[in-house]
Amino acid sequence: MSEKLFEVKDLRISARNDEGVEIPIVKGVSFDVNKGEVVALIGESGSGKTTISLASLAYTKPGLEFSGGEALLNGEDVLSMAPLRQREIRGANVAYLAQSAAATFNPAITIGEQVTESAVLHGVLTQEEATKRAEALYHALELPDPHRIGYRYPHQVSGGQLQRLMAAMALCGKPDLMVLDEPTTALDVTTQIEVLKAFKKVIKEENAAAIYVTHDLAVVAQIADYIVVLYSGEVMEQGSVDQIINHPTHAYTKRLMAAVRPTPVAGMGEAVGSEHDRQFPAIEVKNMTAGYGGIVDGEPVSTILRNVTVKVDNGHVVGVIGESGCGKSTLARVMAGLLPQAKGNIKLEGQELEGSLHDRKLEELQKVQFVYQMADTALNPKQLIGNILGRPLEFYHGIKGKEKHKKVAEILEMVELPAEFANRYPMELSGGQKQRINMARSLAANPEVMLCDEVTSALDSIVGANVIQLLTNLRNKTGVSFVFISHDLSTVGSFADEIVVLYAGRVVEQGPTDEVLAPPYHPYTRLLISSVPELRIGWLEDTMNKREMAVGIARGVEITKVGCPFFNRCPMAIEGTCEVTDAPNRELKNGHIIACHLTEDQLNEAERETQKILKGFEKVGVDKPHAPASV
């Protein structure tokens, strides 16, 4: 079991700048991977984790070079191999799984062909054997319809399925070592859990070794046997998963652990003061329906949001959560006027707001600001930060010249960046700093409402936590209201005062954070909560098998016209009722609303059952699951 498969010894990788000076990127990293073991490389972006993992394929990104050390695969140094031998190893002995499956698959070739390609190319298997093995792998990875999925094209399967298919592609040639580069980072929590489960199972069955690259400690705790913590190209700490997760010694590891957001529970949100309260809510959306395509019979051709009512009080943070495709961003775009609604109305401080951007007054535009998810694309790369921040000042408030400079410096200070940044281009900032500038641009308009679309999703955990802290400070200082869109329930739970849970374009639950995150839950909220990985070894096993019957299954979001859209995933669905009639809005205490056919009592009862299953399961453990003792 502890046979060494892959050994990295004092690996050094460096880049060269224009003057030919060597800049070390990886500074002497050593670790081993044993057979049948998963080694996780964790660290933030820029820590060199991907660079190190690619070294196992004897590959560096352009501009980098190996400047020392060895990487021994089965005792043979891959770095000093002849290029032809390296080619033999890649794909056959070492397989690489990139972060984005969508970008890895060729859209014009069937999945099966791509999955088997490398195994056949390397002569490991014949086409027939490979096809057979691929089918077995589809089965092991719990993909639907394993006999036929190989004949589909990549766009015909969902993102989570594609990610699993990529694992099949890597495993098809029976590699000794798999390199997984953030394979679940881009997925929804509900999908992530399915993918993790499949990966874990298949790695165990194949007795394969893997290097798992991620920044997410909670994921690592589920899948890894051994952890290497990296920072700036150096190993900070390494050890078994138990040692690192339960007894971290290095200050950096502790810092990383602290940035892992806790599992969402009631009472984690901050209480809001009433000092910002006004007569009217800052922004309000009533019975709104919106979508894309032309409008036919009063409904958009492709309806995304249906009959949505959301209210954002002054100085409040409203979190909007749901899986991808639920219409979260669409809601913000309607509020911002980027997508005129088909039905319903929007009110800004009690005043009716036009649906289209062009019909809104300048003052109204200034009061509602949209913050984009990707700062990289939301900031014009050819404009100086000073101009980016100065433009809203000039445009809305007519501030010019010296005063503008002063204001820009003030705004930079507000987002905790030095004033000199005004003379930089976006490219010259790091990801977290760009995101701050992105928010600062909206702040410069001096808005009433900021619509933040997944602003922390693309950031590392520590950086993301800092951004959330910043938003909290801003809210307290300026009294600006936030609509905070995220698929990450723990982020929303720690920051929002109220939560709106969207599913397939409908609000299934909304209310104060403490109410939403406490029973009774809407079945969908329950599923979301139980899918957030916990920083606890064995959590995945605990949750895995009984999860479906307890809280519902992961499946693509389907938008339906009538009935509850969650019907096909809900473990408590009432056949004949849920899919044909819209769920009634049940008003519970403190403005807590659940849209479900089940009554409050039934939901509470269901929650007790769920708890029983989950709890009983935890006690029993993975190996001998038996029904929990009846109470």
Partner: protein, 301 residues
């Protein structure tokens, strides 16, 4: 052990400060490689010749002072004589004005037309885009030399007509590029952010679209200039460009082509002039576009 602790402290201190800054201070001064510098030298030299060429030429472009045609270099005939016994060097020095001057004017004009229409089509979309694009397609469908020949046959050959024909023909491809670039940029988040802010179309074009399209368009400018030089030269080669006895590099190649069989270099020198000018422009463009994206990104790794 103490060493370990200090290292830990260092890391944490780095985390708490603005350590996520890129290491290198922003450096924006354009630094060309030696190839780029040499190319700039060549282009500057040719530009100088455009201005002062006629005054430093040993003879006039039309003087038939040589003892015979197709002679090798002798006395002050440093590059020999052409098929009429004229001084090749003088004709190249005079011809620079026609070849380079016409090409640059035509290319600049092509760019003005192409970018204006291309960006307009990209920004406006819909019918505007449809109409401009289809007209453009129909011009693009005609072979450029044929189009040039017909236009010259109809309108006669003069330098203003040459410039306008070349600019219209090359505006079509500039239009394609400008429209594609414009469309790409128009769907970027930062453009939508500007729209959401309520900015007008003109401001969006001026501040968001054009700065981002400038670099690829500049790259293309160098390339297009080369095409125009070759286009004018080939028209001259066919006898429809710059009319004799005025000199122009393209027509010089054609006139002296027969000399190659006698081992004369008279056709090689103007060809060499065309080559140095066009290749140098391309090298500069390559260098700038490689540098403007690459250097800082490399530093930040």
């Amino acid at each position: 052990m103490t060493e370990n602790i200090t290292k830990e402290e260092e890391v944490i201190a780095k985390l708490d400060s603005f350590a996520e800054l890129p290491d290198a201070p922003p450096k924006r001064k354009l630094k060309l490689s030696w190839v780029g510098k040499a190319a700039v030298g060549v282009v500057v030299l040719w530009m100088l010749i455009v201005i002062i060429g006629p005054s430093i030429a040993p003879y006039h472009e039309m003087d038939m002072e040589g003892e015979d045609s197709f002679l090798d270099a002798y006395d002050n005939f440093y590059l020999g004589t052409d098929y009429l016994g004229r001084d090749t060097l003088s004709r190249i020095l005079f011809g620079a004005r026609n070849t380079i001057g016409i090409s640059i004017l035509a290319t600049v004009l092509a760019y003005c037309i192409g970018i204006t229409l291309g960006i307009a089509a990209a920004v406006k979309g819909g019918w505007t885009d449809m109409i401009i694009s289809r007209i453009n397609d129909s011009i693009l469908a005609l072979p450029s030399i044929m189009l040039g020949l017909i236009a010259i046959a109809a309108l006669g050959s003069s330098i203003p007509i040459l410039i306008s024909i070349a600019s219209i023909i090359y505006a079509t491809s500039v239009f394609r590029i400008a429209r594609a670039l414009g469309q790409d940029i128009m769907v970027q988040d930062f453009v939508e952010a500007a729209r959401a802010r309520g900015e007008g179309l003109w401001w969006i074009i001026k501040s968001e679209v054009l700065p981002n399209a400038a670099m690829p368009l500049a790259t293309d400018f160098g390339l297009r200039l080369v095409f125009v030089v070759l286009f004018i030269s080939s028209l001259s080669f066919l006898g429809l460009g710059v009319q004799p006895p005025a000199s122009d590099w393209g027509s010089m190649v054609r006139e002296n082509l027969q000399g190659l069989t006698y081992g004369s270099y008279a056709a090689i020198w103007p060809a060499f002039a065309i080559a140095t000018f066009t290749i140098s422009i391309n090298l500069i463009v390559d260098d700038i576009s490689a540098k403007s994206g690459g250097s800082l990104a490399k530093k930040m790794v």
